[in-house]
Structure formats: C-alpha cells, structure tokens
C-alpha cells in the first residue's frame, strides 16, 4: 500500500479538523446553519465516493446512481416504518438489498460499455422512479413519498458527528482500498479491458467487486440520510439534478481519487450556500451549473489535480 508519513499526517489533520468543527460553533466562530450545510456535504460526499468507486476508474459511467441510493433509502424506510423492524437491523438489511441492486447494475456491464452503459443506468433510475409510484404505493408512499421516518439524532451537532464519522470512515476505507493492487487493476480496466483479461485477470470479478463496494456505500449513505431527514420524496430523489450533483462533485473534485469527490462535494454544497445571499432564487442553480461546466472544461482532472500540481510545485521549490 506504500503509505508514507505525510499520508498519516494529512489524514490525521483532516479527521481532527472535521471532528472539531462543532467546537467552532461553541466558540461562536461558525453558525449552526453551517453545521447543517456540512451534514448535506457529508452525504453528498459519500454518494460521490460511491460513484467514484464504480465509475471513476473503470470507465463505466453511471448516470443512474440514485437507483442504488434509492434502494438503500426506501429499503430502510419501508422496513422500519411499515414493518416495525428496528433501525439497527433495517439499515444493514437495506445495505444488503442495495448490494443486490449493485449486481443488477453489473448485468449490463457484462455486455455493454460506454454510452450504452450510461444510458441503461439512466433508464434504471427512471424505472425505479416509475416503480415506486405504481407498485405497492401503500408501502412506498407512491408519488408523495414517505414521512415520519425515525430519525437517529437530535440537533445539528449530533447529526453532524454521525454524518462526518460515516463519511470519514467511508472515505478512508475506499481510499485505502484504491491504494491496493485492486485499485491499480481498476485503473487498468478503464484503460484497456482486453489487456486486463490478457494479463490473466477476470474482468467480471473486478467489476463485480467495484460495483458491490459502490452499492455498499450508496446504500449505507442513502439509508442514513433518510434517517436524518425523516422523509423521502421520489421526485427529488430520482431527479436528473441529483445525478448531476453527484457526478459533478466527483468530476470537478477529481475522478478516481476518492478524496477529490469529497472536496468536490464540499465545494459544490458551499458554493450553493455562498450564492444564497446574492442570488436567493433559482438563478443560483444556473450559476452553480455554469461554474461546474467551466471548471470541468478547464480542468477535467479536477480540483484534486490542481491542488496536487500546486503542492508539487511548492515542494520542488522548497
């Protein structure tokens, strides 16, 4: 894995800084609202990490990630609300079901690539959107969705600590995983799939593993988010805008790097917040999208690459 001292230092600093955020509120340096914004950013970061594990390296671009997130969210919401399953059980079950969903996404990836695959995943999301509205609306809440779902925490600080711990655990776990030879194999898969199998590796197994890990993260984050929000609305969940936000967070952060998508998620979430005072209405989304587009066209490798380049230059000079 080849970890160096500065890896430990950087992770230590990141974890400490994130866990100490609520103290800034105590000191009056930061508003409670900011903490809530950070909670949103943490969940978006997990979704973006999940996307990155599936699509960032392998070249199988998912346009339907809310399909996976939705399974996790609906899974635990229905189990806990309609069947009275305790949350300690409903969340792991929901994650498990989401991983089965990950295998469903794997099916087209066994035969088709590129644009085809992206399109099929988009159709998966649309299908899920239609399904939750018409199949057993007594369970899914139909078009209206579900509300009154049990929440796990009370108050911004507790919600934040839960979200940030989850996010850091997921980020560290995936980051370590991607530093192993498995991560190298996924890069290789995205660059030349035939040559990977010509090097003696089963590409199906690699894809399956990536998709399962991605589904695990998506299901976990989706499930915890629903128990934070306490409600669930299909139109917002299976919206092209949420696909957009996840992909753009991962891309402008830096696809394939795990930490990049975390950066991207915080950047996007806070960009939206900072724009609020100047542009209170829907203009915000226009600016936000335009910034994303320009950043993407300017540096397709993302913020991570910009920072990395900058650090290297500093290092070189010192």
């Amino acid at each position: 894995m080849n970890l160096r001292w500065y890896h430990f230092a950087a992770w230590g600093a990141l974890i400490a800084a994130m866990l100490l955020m609520p103290r800034l509120v105590d000191l009056g340096l930061m508003g409670r609202g900011t903490l809530r914004t950070m909670i949103q950013a943490c969940y978006l970061a997990m979704f973006a990490i999940s996307w990155d594990v599936l699509s960032g390296r392998t070249g199988y671009i998912s346009f339907g990630h809310p399909f996976l997130i939705g399974i996790g969210a609906y899974g635990t919401a229905i189990l806990s609300k309609k069947f009275g399953v305790p949350v300690e059980l409903s969340i792991p079950l929901a994650v498990l079901i989401t991983m089965i969903g990950g295998l469903v996404v794997l099916l087209p990836a066994l035969r088709i690539k590129g644009s085809y695959f992206a399109l099929v995943t988009l159709a998966f999301m649309e299908l899920m959107y239609q399904l939750v509205q018409v199949i057993r609306p007594d369970l899914t809440g139909g078009t209206r969705g579900l509300s009154g779902i049990k929440t796990l925490t009370r108050g911004a600080e507790n919600g934040y600590m839960l979200a940030v711990s989850l996010m850091l655990a997921v980020a560290l776990g995936c980051w370590l995983l991607m530093r192993t030879r498995f991560g190298t194999a996924l890069w290789a898969l995205g660059q030349n799939e035939e040559a990977v199998s010509g090097s003696g590796l089963s590409t199906i197994r690699l894809k399956a593993m990536a998709f399962l890990v991605s589904a695990f993260v998506a299901g976990l984050a989706g499930a915890f988010l629903v128990h934070y929000n306490g409600s669930l609305a299909p139109r917002a969940m299976f919206d092209i805008n949420s696909v957009f936000t996840i992909i753009v967070a991962a891309l402008i952060g830096g696809a394939g790097t795990i930490l990049g998508p975390v950066l991207g998620a915080f950047f996007l979430t806070f960009l939206l917040e900072w724009l609020r005072p100047f542009l209170p209405g829907a203009e915000r989304f226009l600016v936000y999208g335009a910034v994303a587009l320009v950043l993407y066209m300017y540096q397709p490798k993302g913020i991570y690459a910009i920072i990395e380049g900058g650090l290297k230059r500093l290092w070189g000079r010192a």
């Binding site: 590129g114 992206a118 829907a282």
Partner: protein, 283 residues
C-alpha cells in the same frame, strides 16, 4: 382496436421525430448528445412563451421554437462539443451538465410548476370510442412531413450525401474533400431544430415542466440504438414498435406505461446491444 391503432400511430410519429434529430448527431458526430433533451425543453418553453405569453400566431410560435433550437445546436457545437471532441465520456458528461444548466435557466424564467399548453389546433375528432385531439393529429402529420423531407434531403441532395459520407467514414470523407466542419454545423443545426419542434409537440401531448425532457431523451436514444445508428428506416420502425407497445400496455393498465417502456429499453439494450438493424457498435 381502432383506438389503439390511431393512438399508436400518433405517439409513434412523435417518437420518430424526436429520435430522428438524435440519430443525425449520433451518426454524423459520433456523439451521445445528452443535451439533446434540452432542445425539447427549450422548444416547448419557447412555443409557450411566443404563442401563449406574447400571443403570436401559433404557427409562428412553432417556427420560432425551431429557430431557437437551431441556434442552440450551432452554439453547442461551436462552444462545447468541438473542444472536447474525441473523448466520448467527456462529451456525454459536458452535455449532461449543459442540459441541467439549461433546465435551471428554464426554472429561473418560468418557474418550477407545470404549464398547460393550449392545443396548437383546437378541437377533437371522435373515432369509434377514441377522442383524437386535432392537435395530436396535426403534430403527427407535420412529423411525417418532416421525416419524409429529411429522408429525401439525406438521400438526394449533395449536402445530405456528404452527411452520409461523414457518418460512414469521417477520414475517408475528409480525403475526398468534404468539409467535415460545415457538415457538422449543418447536422447540429438540423438536429436542434427537429428537437425543438419535437419538444413543442411532446409538451402539448403530455405536459410542459422543467423535467419533461428526461423520459423522451431516454426513449429517443434507445430507439436510435435499437433501430441502428444512422438508419432512418430502422429508427422509424423501432419508434413504432415502442409507441405501439406503450399504447397497448397503457390501454391494459395506464399506470404501468412508463415502467413498461423503461423495462423494454433496458432489456433490448442489454440483450441486443448492436440493435435490430445496427451496423456497428459504439463506444
């Protein structure tokens, strides 16, 4: 029975029109242009603005929507696609972002709620037990007129044949002196126009709201892939298969309409990725 036949024809004609604008870009530019959905959206809202808010004649509204779509197509080619051309996932992602930006522009100007489009031609014709709005009938007739026109344009005119040449073999076409840039511009322009007009019809067939473009986009792409990239006839045939299936399913259980269409698309793409009439694989 008759009802299904007529409604099937109406919907299929619409799908064919939308898919046709898409297949042009797909075959000539080799680009999965996800912002194609935005043409539908802009077309629908442009029509709403010109003919319902400004009160211009309806026909002028349709035409202006088409012009706007054309301009949008050209701009997109010049400013965006040309820059990232060659990297497929980059084009897909950039066009997806653009579509979302345009959608938020629509929300900004017109708000988030659904709008009701007045029928292009008022009145309803009753055939058997079916109510056929004149509007839909007109949309279908115009769609067919455009499709036939396009077919002859591609087959018979010099420009049309150059488009075909570029779509078959871009390098070969360049060697034989075809200006690929010009052909690309024309294609993006036509595609934008068709998309915008398709959007007007589609919005009057269903609803006009900011997220209206996603489902028809998926259907258009699927129809094109299944029908064979660049094949006008294949696109027509598959548009009718999808249109009729959708009508048949919804006459049996209207709620399952969307579910069924998406399932069909997923199944066909997974089982027959080369399409039914396809000549090659895309990447």
């Amino acid at each position: 029975m008759l009802q299904i036949l007529i409604q099937g024809l109406l919907l299929s004609g619409l799908y064919a029109l939308i898919a046709m604008g898409f297949t042009l870009i797909f075959s000539v530019g080799r680009v999965l242009n996800l912002a194609y959905g935005a043409y539908l959206l802009i077309g629908g809202y442009a029509y709403f603005y010109f003919s319902q808010q400004l009160g211009l004649p309806k026909i002028a509204g349709v035409m202006l929507a088409g012009v706007l779509g054309c301009v949008l197509g050209l701009l997109k080619y010049q400013l965006l696609v040309k820059r990232v051309q060659g990297v497929h996932s980059a084009v897909e992602i950039a066009t997806l972002i653009l579509a979302v930006v345009l959608q938020s522009a629509v929300v900004l100007i017109f708000g988030d709620s659904s709008k009701i489009l007045l029928p292009i031609v008022p009145g309803v014709e009753r055939v058997a037990s079916a109510a056929i709005p004149y509007s839909n009938l007109v949309a279908t007739i115009i769609s067919w007129a455009i499709l036939i026109g396009l077919y002859f344009f591609v087959r018979l005119t010099h420009t049309g044949r150059a488009m075909q040449a570029v779509s078959m073999d871009a390098k070969g076409a360049a060697i034989s002196g075809i200006d690929a840039n010009r052909i690309n511009m024309i294609t993006w322009g036509i595609s934008g126009t068709l998309g915008a007009i398709g959007g007007v019809f589609f919005a009057s067939y269903t609803q006009l709201y900011p997220g209206m473009w996603v489902a028809p986009l998926i259907i258009a792409v699927a129809v094109v892939i299944v029908g064979g990239i660049g094949s006008i006839i294949g696109t027509l045939v598959v548009a009718h298969i999808v249109g009729f299936m959708e009508i048949i399913v919804s006459s049996w259980n209207p709620e399952l309409r969307g579910v069924f269409t998406m399932l069909l698309i997923i199944l066909v793409l997974v089982l027959r990725p080369r399409g039914l009439f396809g000549r090659e694989e895309i990447h």
